[in-house]
Symmetry: C2
């Protein structure tokens, strides 16, 4: 690799992260079950299970709409949900800085408990390590989950087909915007709350309405733009977005306008992209809109065979432009 040291960009979820994964990890860990999707699909005994892991190092560890504990449960639950797997069991491993307040730890653990109960997933094993002062920044949590695959459901980033519609399950960019405002001293006053939420109930509702869904992916690090580029790449299709249909909260739009950011590249922690045949669109939207957290679900684009591996956006005056390919350092320690 040209870079001789690990860079923040390699942790940002974009192109450099993929490069690191392919050139270092995948090269050595390659096996039939090694996954590029949100969770691996495994045979164990008689059944098929999904398994996923995620490390959380978000800074600050508390933010409007959640904390690192809630986030650590949502992140892994949502990765399983995106494979159509009902989250069953979670493990969690903590690395805590010496001197971290026990009262804060208890708040974090309480959020984990509440979020796990809401989903119906059980935390079954854990590990605790303490590092000396200055050896870890406050608290990191890694969660790993296993779940049962919904029979008859087969989703993957490689399954988008020309003619499919592209749905987002809510307004975009809130988690990234929240962390940005809490961390950087930007002097911007804006009322933005992270979308951090578990999404299994939404996925379950969609899969109860139809099994004919091609891709479900949560738009975390790198945002909706990065996920769409991944899908375009893996499925070898083009994606065209309709700018006016992309739901963005006014406050998020305002912050993005001031800072020259695109909400398409801000992280979400409770918002998914769903790609499905046009025929299933109404059933999926109806199912999502019955659930409080996904009631703003909207169709934002279509899949075509034109311009494979590219994502373009049509503006309100009808102009078409390619959205930038993800990459570079977006905002480190967003999750």
């Amino acid at each position: 690799m040209k870079n001789e040291v690990v860079t923040l960009a390699q942790g940002a979820g974009g192109k450099q992260t993929s490069q690191l994964i392919h050139e270092v990890f995948a090269k050595h860990f390659s096996n039939p079950e090694f996954t590029a999707d949100d969770a691996a699909v495994l045979s164990l005994g008689d059944g098929k299970i999904a398994m996923s892991t995620d490390g959380f190092i978000v800074s600050p560890f508390e933010f409007k709409g959640g904390n690192i504990g809630k986030l650590s449960i949502c992140g892994t639950v949502n990765d399983l949900a995106c494979m159509g797997a009902k989250p069953e069991y979670l493990t969690c491993a903590f690395v805590i800085e010496e001197g971290f307040p026990i009262a804060k730890l208890e708040e974090i653990v309480t959020s984990m408990e509440e979020t796990a109960k809401k989903v119906g997933v059980r935390i079954v094993a854990g590990d605790t390590k303490v590092a000396g002062k200055g050896q870890v920044d406050k608290i990191f949590i890694t969660t790993t989950g296993v779940g049962r695959l919904t029979p008859g459901v087969n989703t993957s980033g490689a399954l988008a087909r020309p003619g499919d519609c592209v749905i987002v399950t809510g307004d975009i960019g809130r988690h990234g915007c929240t962390i940005l405002l809490e961390r950087e001293n930007l002097g911007i006053e804006a009322d933005v709350t992270s979308d951090c939420a578990p999404l299994w109930d939404a996925v379950e509702a969609v899969l109860s309405a139809t099994h004919d869904v091609h891709v479900i992916r949560d738009a975390t690090r790198g945002g909706v733009g990065t996920v769409l580029y991944e899908i375009a790449e893996e499925s070898n299709v083009g994606i065209t977005l309709d700018a006016k249909n992309i739901p963005v909260e006014g406050a998020v739009e305002g912050v993005c306008g001031m800072l020259g950011l695109d909400p398409l590249y801000l992280a979400n922690e409770g918002t998914m992209v769903i790609v499905a045949p046009e025929s299933e669109k109404d059933k999926i939207l109806e199912a999502l809109r019955k659930i409080d957290h996904t009631k703003k679900a909207a169709v934002i684009g279509t899949v075509s065979s034109d311009m494979p591996k590219k994502v373009v956006v049509t503006t309100e005056i009808g102009a078409k432009s390619m959205i930038p390919e993800p990459g570079g350092e977006l905002l480190p320690r967003i999750c």
Copy 2:
């Protein structure tokens, strides 16, 4: 809790770690599958699986006999093995400090690959986060594993019975001694190599010889002494050790003598304690001694109903003394 902040002692694997787990984690995460053993036993579909997670923050990340990558595979493989579960799938989550050399990362990943291949476990999913300089000390890895339980095997720290024999699978204290020598500037020259190794082959050999095994536990943080106290406590039994039968390498004994340390409390990363009925002793020793890594296996003591929850040691001149209860800060960041 009396401590208002997290302390290094709470990460040392002794009494304070248990206290933190009970008073903060177990209180909130309590459910029928939440485990005090090395891995949780779970129902998933038609079968039973074991699941375990472990975070690795060892410093230095390279040491004689291994590195954090090898250790991260061994640690989780061994936790599954100790439940009598064949390790099937692993996930790994990395937190890497900005500026970490890619060449070192590749060495670590290569060790993980080699160790996983040796065991026959597949790495199926991963996650990579990068933290800024000074926000994490070089590299932390969390691995999580699932495995299939060997039918008919039922081991737990609570199953030791009076009359059982206590076996260690090799000479003790090498991992802790190695890290101590590499990290502290003690001016001691000693040729000690970590025992870091995967133990599934040893467990498989034992279980092929007999299913009548009560406890299998790897003696990591806190060493053999801490594990024996855990077993004595959970099974409500007393344990008597015979000092002359405890295998300790000369170099480890020498270092311990100079520093006033007890090898019983030094960490191991490839050495287990096995408690089984006296009738199974010879079969178990024979199975272990056929495997290179466990050929120094020895019976070191017996279980009785006397002095429940205590561990005593008989010295060569016949004196009996209680070994100290584990606790306090042993050596942070040993694993």
